[in-house]
């Protein structure tokens, strides 16, 4: 934004004081920002250190030599190759499932009026306000009875189900902003509902797909409680967060290995965040405005 010339002129007498206080603000923000990022920088540095150096150098951010031994150990002996793959599979599958189901449901709930629509909408809104997270026990029981225990499917389905209602409501809101002409044009061309959804509505919903996808991916990559409970009996299904928890329990002295594991768990999602940070933040901000 270019400053208005008149506004600039009135500011000029104060400019020196403003610049000095501006520098002070930047100094404080940078200092605090460094402290804020310190835990991440510290764990990154620790992941390259040898165990003895880790204990000697304590809080230093610069490792004496860059050794990848910790990564090799965590990836091979620590089981992180499995955890990493499991996390990718769970996060991608859950995100895809949520996007598909909620965009389909959101589309018909927004654009068609059929008997029972009000009941479904009412039920969804009511469920939104019931607290989640306290029903893990019957969920566990159900998964067991469905024969899904000790499969990645249990995590994918339970996690996806948890995100369906909120995201369907988001898609309803989004499709409501698309004018009726678009759909009517498709119907004139002889398209049926699935065709209209797939070829016209879904491509138009790209911004909402990005928002829902980003959030689902982030929360699924990070989720702990559900994968923890559903992998209690099978360590080969652990995700990164659960694997880390177990890894700490088994390696209570191998802190540099734990550090390498932590970096492998955090770095992918951090990278995604810094590349797409504008979208992340806009999506969060959108949640409070809506």
């Amino acid at each position: 934004m270019a400053a208005h010339p008149i506004a600039l002129a009135t500011l000029r007498p104060k400019l020196f004081g403003r610049r000095a206080s501006g520098l002070l603000v930047h100094a404080v923000l940078i200092g605090l920002g460094f402290l804020y990022m310190y835990p991440f920088l510290w764990i990154l540095a620790s992941s390259f250190k040898e165990p003895s150096e880790f204990f000697r150098s304590g809080l230093s951010l610069i490792p004496q030599h860059l050794s990848l031994d910790n990564y090799v150990y965590a990836w091979q002996a620590g089981g992180f190759s499995t955890y990493f793959l499991n996390t990718v599979v769970v996060a991608v599958a859950t995100t895809a499932l949520v996007i598909l189901l909620t965009s389909m449901a959101g589309y018909v709930l927004s654009k068609t009026s059929f008997p029972g629509k009000r009941v479904i909408l009412g039920g969804m809104v009511a469920l939104m306000f019931l607290p989640g997270g306290y029903t893990i026990i019957p969920t566990f029981d159900l998964v067991q009875k469905l024969g899904l225990l000790n499969t990645l499917w249990s995590i994918i389905l339970v996690q996806a189900a948890g995100g369906l209602i909120f995201n369907t409501l988001l898609f309803i809101g989004f499709f409501a902003t698309i004018g009726k002409e678009v759909e009517e044009a498709a119907l004139v061309d002889g398209a049926n509902l699935p065709q209209t959804y797939w070829h016209i509505m879904l491509p138009m919903a790209r911004p909402m797909i990005a928002t829902v996808g980003l959030f689902q991916f982030m929360s699924n990559w990070n989720s702990f409680w559900i994968p923890l409970v559903f992998t209690l009996g099978n360590s080969s299904l652990r995700t990164l967060a659960v694997g880390m928890y177990a890894f700490v329990g088994e390696n209570s002295t191998g802190w540099t290995y734990v550090a390498a594991g932590a970096v492998m768990s955090i770095l992918p999602i951090m990278t995604v965040f810094f590349f797409l940070q504008r979208f992340f933040i806009e999506a969060v901000a959108g949640a409070i405005k809506g």
């Binding site: 804020y36 018909v108 469920l127 969060v284």
Partner: protein, 332 residues
């Protein structure tokens, strides 16, 4: 009933969907709508609605989680939960966590948001991204990293303090009942501050610039503008932020389990770890696995949280009404 209705022609039509009445015609016409809804509804019914209903049922049984619950005990578990001092201790810790974390976090977030909202500040998007970044990492990972960091910082500080003669023996922050919960609260503030920062920024940006310009004309200084423009205009969004923060912090689980497991001596046990211990790792609290009991405790807490959610709805509606009344007055 069914038999009698077949003697009437409309009834036969009804059953065979031949020349159907308007309702069925509408259902048939919207066949695809139902197909599109079905997968979503099926998953929600299975993994959201059913567990809600079933958890009510489980609370009435003594059950170790294997097979089907058979020993009906009525409301016994609810009385036992209400009488268990460990539950109330966990309950108190949960509320302490929320009551300490929320005001500190929201104050810092609001101050940061006011600073970053300055349009003359360069690089505010970079600062925003930095302060937001912990949010994108998992609480479990953050808990592990922070436990390690607390250990490293602790050993450094302990050596210094002991050299200076202030301490006679080292303090293990996470292993000390006096400090464990406080340390978790500190990490919690750091971890989710970014959400509230971005919420407040969104709230600040929604305040029309003209109001500030009008205040400038009236000769209002920065403090007057904050008190008489920003605060009233933020009230509605602020209330939503406040309740989201409270509800989120009442559900704390990952951080506690990873950093202390609720210990030492239950000094950082919160309701969610209490439930987890009873349901899944009873050995850690020297108890028998009692899923019925754990479910009763979960339901107990769930009802509390739901009560708070309803309170939030009422409060937000009230604030919205007052705000629109004020706007109405200004217009009139």
């Amino acid at each position: 009933m069914a038999l009698r209705s077949t003697t009437l022609n409309p009834g036969v039509d009804w059953l065979l969907l031949r020349n159907p009445p308007p309702f069925w015609r509408a259902v048939k016409k919207h066949f695809w709508s139902y197909v599109f809804l079905l997968p979503m509804l099926a998953l929600v019914s299975l993994f959201v609605v059913y567990p809600l209903v079933a958890s009510l049922h489980i609370t009435l049984y003594d059950w170790n989680g294997i097979g089907n619950p058979t020993r009906y005990v009525g409301l016994k578990h609810f009385f036992a939960v209400a009488r268990d001092p460990l539950f109330w201790q966990a309950f108190q810790h949960t509320f302490t966590y929320a009551v300490v974390l929320v005001p500190i976090q929201l104050t810092i977030a609001l101050i940061l948001a006011l600073v970053l909202n300055n349009p003359h500040l360069r690089g505010s998007t970079i600062y925003r991204a930095i302060y937001f970044s912990p949010v994108v990492t998992s609480a479990a990972l953050v808990g592990i990293v922070m436990s390690m960091l607390v250990g490293s910082v602790g050993s450094e500080v302990n050596t210094r303090l002991m050299e200076a003669g202030i301490l006679s023996q080292p303090i293990d922050v996470l292993g000390d009942p006096r400090f464990a919960l406080a340390a978790i609260i500190g990490v919690g503030i750091w971890h989710t501050l970014g959400y509230n920062l971005v919420y407040f920024l969104a709230g600040l940006q929604s305040i029309p610039q003209q109001i500030y310009e009008a205040a400038d004309v009236d000769g209002a200084g920065p403090i007057a503008k904050f008190l008489f423009v920003t605060v009233p205009m933020l009230r509605e969004v602020g209330l939503v932020i406040l309740f989201l923060a409270i509800l989120g912090s009442l559900q704390v689980f990952d951080l506690v389990l990873v950093m202390t497991g609720g210990g030492p001596y239950f000094s950082s046990e919160v309701v969610s770890t209490y439930i987890y211990h009873y349901a899944f790792t009873p050995a850690s609290i020297q108890a028998e696995s009692n899923v019925g009991y754990a479910s009763a405790a979960a339901l107990f807490m769930g009802i509390m949280v739901m009560g708070l959610t309803l309170l939030q709805l009422v409060a937000v509606r009230y604030a919205r009404q007052r705000q629109s009344e004020r706007k109405g007055k200004q217009a009139g």
